[in-house]
Symmetry: C2
Subunit: 320 residues, 2 copies
Amino acid sequence: MEARHLRYALALAEHQHFGRAAASLGIAQPPLSAQIAALEREVGERLFDRTSRGVFPTAAGAAFLARARRALDEMGGAVVDAGRAARGETGRLRLGFIGSALVAPLPGVLGRFQRARPDVRLDLREMSSPAGAAALIAGDLDVAVGRGAPRGAGAEGLVTVPIGADDLIAVVARTHPFAGRDVVHLDQLAGENLIVATADQEPAVVAALRAAFGPGPSPLDCPTAARDVHTIIGLAACRVGVGLGPTRMRLLHRDDVWFCDVQPRVRLPDLHLSFRAADLSPVLAAFLDVVRANCHEVGSRLDEVLARHPAAVDRAAAPT
Amino acid sequence: MEARHLRYALALAEHQHFGRAAASLGIAQPPLSAQIAALEREVGERLFDRTSRGVFPTAAGAAFLARARRALDEMGGAVVDAGRAARGETGRLRLGFIGSALVAPLPGVLGRFQRARPDVRLDLREMSSPAGAAALIAGDLDVAVGRGAPRGAGAEGLVTVPIGADDLIAVVARTHPFAGRDVVHLDQLAGENLIVATADQEPAVVAALRAAFGPGPSPLDCPTAARDVHTIIGLAACRVGVGLGPTRMRLLHRDDVWFCDVQPRVRLPDLHLSFRAADLSPVLAAFLDVVRANCHEVGSRLDEVLARHPAAVDRAAAPT
DNA sequence: GCTGCGCGATATCTGTGACGTATCGTCGCC
DNA sequence: GGCGACGATACGTCACAGATATCGCGCAGC
């Protein structure tokens, strides 16, 4: 049984006349008779009553036609859905990210993307940078945002672009002696209890800190570890110690804390966005397009990759 | 686009390999490649990624395949549904009937039919005999049960069989002088207020009564009119007068009324079942089969009609 | 680094079957 | 009873689905 049989049966039911139904289908009457006969033979039931007043579906025919209509609707819908999926208008995007990316630039990027592609389901999962990279390589994520470029087995199959730079800044309670200062020197942190990211969650950040403090004994030897920037700020506000985190932490201003720059400047590993080069889906391409328009730190590498999906470029802002 | 394309795409998605998918379809690999290419051309999107590790659906392909699966399911379901409808296992039966038929034999017939065909929807509508005949002729009913055979325009297209005979009986309140009697003579009804069916609702019954009482003045000249047997009994119980109705009225025994036969015997028009001879659907045939098994008054006319649908006979009791 | 192999694409032929034209059988209808 | 309308049948034809043979390419392996 082919779709043709369904189309012919529906046309016959509509026109109640072999000749006119055939004409509406663009074929002659005898082939229509033959195809309907073949359909009835295959179904095993008479589907139409041929009377002198017209052609009418039998009980079996009526039941058949109802389903046939739905089957053809599904076939038409399949083409429509395929087109929408190919243009990245529908689908799913699984995004893993570290907490500080949620300070910036994710709010703007996610908002614009969801506005441009309202029918794409966003699966958002907060996780550490190494966990995001691992999930991405395992195929459990489509995009990962973390600090530092992913390394290790499988990372060579990823495309990674920087999407945000940060220097190290300090955060203290308003009642702390550092409050009111514009800058604090690394040397002045000796003797202070430091609040920093945990080494297992954000190794790249901790490595950058170690490099800044240099070899030998340092306040980093016994820090208070925090899973994300909110915790760093919260602990600092509780006078647990001096929080150290990325510049974008300033955006989380609170009345009870004070931010100050660190001297000498300590450049933290950039925020990076990664995805599997081999799995550049239309939805992903549309997402990257939004990222490129919103993050000036993005280099030309992304343009190069996006060029492989020209149809996706400049569609996110104005989907058809 | 034909169903073949959907079947081929689904097989390819399942086997992730052109050669094995083709083998599972019983065709060679080149035709499968050609059909998939034709499908992709028609849809306008690439549906499969051919990699060295296998063939995988693209985002568009995944969306397409989901709908394709449903489309093929609908096509298969269409055949199944057609078969079920042809066997009278599904569908609808619109039955019009007069109130006294609901005393008997409808309870037994409907119960057995619904047990044999649980998926058939029964539309039951109580109406007068002429209204049922008119609705049947107009195509608003599939079966009508009334008293007397339908007459008038369109009635010649109906098949009508008797399904129950009745004599006239009387019903009075337990406190009425007739209470306790086995029989009452027509002559004794003179002077009594009679409670009978209304002439416009049941003309055949009223005509039979008129014939029984003979020409000239009679108690029928100014009766109390009732729409159904329940009302006749109820009014009689209220001592409004003497109710006259069909024998089967006895089945509605109540402690406060008394039934007695009428002398001389007055034969009422039979209960008749009618349907359009041209529209003998499988569901209707199955219903008639139950009627034949439950109403011994049914004549051979029904056998003759049912012979035109041999498949329906003896299916009602044991549907496959 | 070249060869071998697996796999999908391409080229070409073939046969089935869908379709067209012509015609028949049948049923209403004037 | 002739006529017209309509669906079924008969038969020729051509398009296209499918078969066979072969090519191109990418990966693996000695």
